[in-house]
């Protein structure tokens, strides 16, 4: 395996069993992602991009194939090992922000540190992240008091606070207006350019995809083409 590949996927298959029926969500996906790349995975609904996202993020075990993320073969990990991997190596950004509604923005970020077993007190990285994302003055508000754009910036802060090897963003602008979408995408690109953060982004939107270094298209559980 090449030294600068952070993700290496070979012949990845995922079959869901729905009653008596087998649904082939992934049918032999091959994918290489160099460290520091901003990759967009595009494709219609049902093409398998969310399943790929869940497997790469350690939320789902593959049926067969090889998935290596930062040197760890996910196909050989148990549930608890995948949980530990999510804690340290993966950051998620979701379409619906998925912040804990009872906690402030500060605590929503801090809880990711806590789950990873890290102490966030007087952490310069914590301050750097919230300043980078422009949410320093919104930290003591709960999600219900934040705009959609602010909520997504808090979610991005939470995703990168533990220095993940990969940042997985699933339709991160799907619930935002065009202005906030542009702001969030700019932040993601900045994170990639300034911090070298590897990002995999799922979207339907070609405008969103244009922010990435490379776009791969999925259809019927396979990667059908790639463009730079």
């Amino acid at each position: 395996m090449s030294e600068d590949l952070i993700i290496r996927v070979r012949d990845l298959r995922k079959i869901y069993r729905v009653g008596e029926v087998e649904v082939h969500a992934l049918r032999g996906v091959n994918l290489d992602v160099p460290r520091g790349e901003f990759l967009c995975v595009a494709g219609p609904s049902g093409s398998g991009k969310s399943t790929l996202f869940h497997i790469l993020g350690g939320l789902l075990a593959p049926t067969s194939g090889t998935v290596i993320v930062d040197g760890h073969d996910l196909s050989k990990l148990t549930d608890s090992q995948r949980t530990a991997l999510r804690r340290r190596m993966v950051g998620f950004v979701f379409q619906k922000f998925n912040l804990l509604p009872t906690l402030t923005a500060y605590d929503n970020i801090a809880i990711a540190r806590h789950i990873a077993g890290r102490n966030q007190d007087n952490d310069p990285w914590f301050r750097q992240v919230v300043e980078l994302l422009g949410i320093a003055d919104r930290l003591h508000h709960k999600p219900s008091k934040l705009s959609g754009g602010e909520q997504q910036r808090v979610a991005i802060a939470r995703a990168i606070i533990n220095h993940p090897a990969i940042l997985l963003a699933d339709e991160p602008t799907g619930n935002l207006d065009s202005q906030n979408s542009a702001a969030v995408l700019k932040i993601l690109r900045d994170l990639n350019e300034r911090l070298g953060q590897t990002i995999l982004l799922i979207t339907h939107d070609p405008v969103v995809a244009s922010y990435a270094h490379r776009v791969v298209h999925m259809l019927d559980g396979r990667i059908v083409d790639a463009e730079s």
Binding site: H54, G57, L59, T83, R86, R87, F92, L100, P101, I111
Partner: protein, 364 residues
């Protein structure tokens, strides 16, 4: 961090939190009130027995320690006891149940005065006529009676001759022969109170009486009062155990429902935590801490409520039941409530801990 999340979760649903605390509080109150009532009633019995001022009590064969049986023993026993060496006084009394836990004592007041020093009258004075009655302070307060008031008891009207300080015999006292006549027990008594010349002679007198009166329960006052406990009252311990088990079931069901709905409501949040890498133990820890907090708050509330039930009893029915505050049971009741609550949170917690993060994140 986890504590903050737990507190915020509880604050987020204030009504459910308050209801859970209230239910656990009632569970704890049930336990503390029941134990307090049992101990209070028994302590009251012991205090009244001590208040007579006797050194030895002789009860009829086959009677229980605090039995309310009427009068199965011949009054001739009093004379027999008076003739014993070292015995200075002996007085027979009859106890007759009225309603609930209320009893009436029949006793010869002149003999009772000699052994006990007599009642302390707060109003009025001793009985002079056969239709007169003495009541204690609590009975008078509960029934709004004063010296000179009238009261209906045992199918006849009584005039209150005096209101006395509580702590001797029953709350209602009439002459022994009147009670014997009214209950069709002429010449019968429930127990004999015996006073000896020197406390050092009490064991000697008891030994002699036990030799002569085979089968009769004979106690020194010290022994009698120490025997009046929950463990020595037939059925009481079993009754308390049953009520405590019921209280545990109530606490278990309430916490189960509360946590079950909490887990359902927070499906998405649990999914978020798991996506962030929270282990099943981490999720379980959050729910269990919430449960512990609910149980602790419920225990504190239950302790406060137990003061409330005592106040209510003393305010509205001071002559009926006596409830003690039982600090030694606070931790026990709290532990029982906590155990029931944790049991109630176990299944919802298990469900939460095993939740699939992808399904949970898709939950609307």
């Amino acid at each position: 961090m986890v504590n903050k999340l737990v507190l915020e979760n509880l604050k987020h649903r204030p009504v459910r939190t308050a209801l859970s605390i209230l239910a656990i509080g009632i569970e704890v109150t049930m336990m503390l009130t029941l134990v307090g009532l049992s101990r209070g009633m028994l302590a009251d019995v012991a205090r009244r027995a001590r208040g007579v001022g006797a050194d030895i009590v002789v009860r009829p064969p086959g009677t229980s320690l605090i039995g309310l049986s009427s009068a199965p023993m011949s009054e001739k026993m009093v004379d027999f006891l008076r003739r014993q060496p070292h015995v200075t006084h002996a007085v027979g009394s009859m106890t007759h149940p009225l309603s609930g836990v209320t009893t009436i004592t029949g006793i010869r007041l002149d003999e009772f005065d000699q052994i006990s020093g007599g009642f302390k009258y707060l109003e009025g004075g001793p009985i002079r006529n056969r239709d007169e009655i003495i009541v204690d302070r609590y009975y008078a307060r509960q029934n709004n009676l004063h010296a000179g008031s009238t009261i209906q008891l045992l199918n006849r009207t009584w005039r209150v001759a005096g209101v006395v300080e509580e702590g001797k015999l029953a709350r209602l006292v009439i002459p022994l022969d009147v009670l014997q006549e009214l209950t069709a027990n002429p010449g019968k008594i429930s127990q004999v109170w015996v006073k000896v010349d020197d406390p050092a002679n009490i064991p000697k007198v008891i030994a002699s009486l036990k030799e002569q009166l085979k089968g009769y329960p004979i106690y020194s006052m010290e022994e009698l009062t120490s025997l009046i406990s929950v463990n020595n009252v037939p059925g009481l311990k079993a009754f308390i155990t049953v009520i405590i088990l019921l209280a545990i079931v109530v606490g278990f069901l309430v916490v189960f429902l509360s946590m079950y709905t909490a887990v359902l409501e927070r499906t998405r949040e649990i999914g978020i935590l798991k996506a962030l890498g929270a282990s099943p133990l981490y999720v379980l820890n959050i729910l269990f801490r919430e449960t512990v907090l609910l149980a602790l708050a419920g225990t504190v509330l239950g302790i406060l409520f137990s003061y409330g039930t005592r106040w209510v009893i003393m305010r509205w029915a001071p002559a009926s039941l006596t409830q003690m505050i039982v600090p030694d049971w606070w931790a026990i009741a709290g532990a029982i409530a906590l155990g029931g609550a944790l049991l109630g949170a176990s299944y919802p917690g298990w469900r939460a801990a095993r939740q699939d993060p992808i399904e949970a994140l898709a939950y609307e």
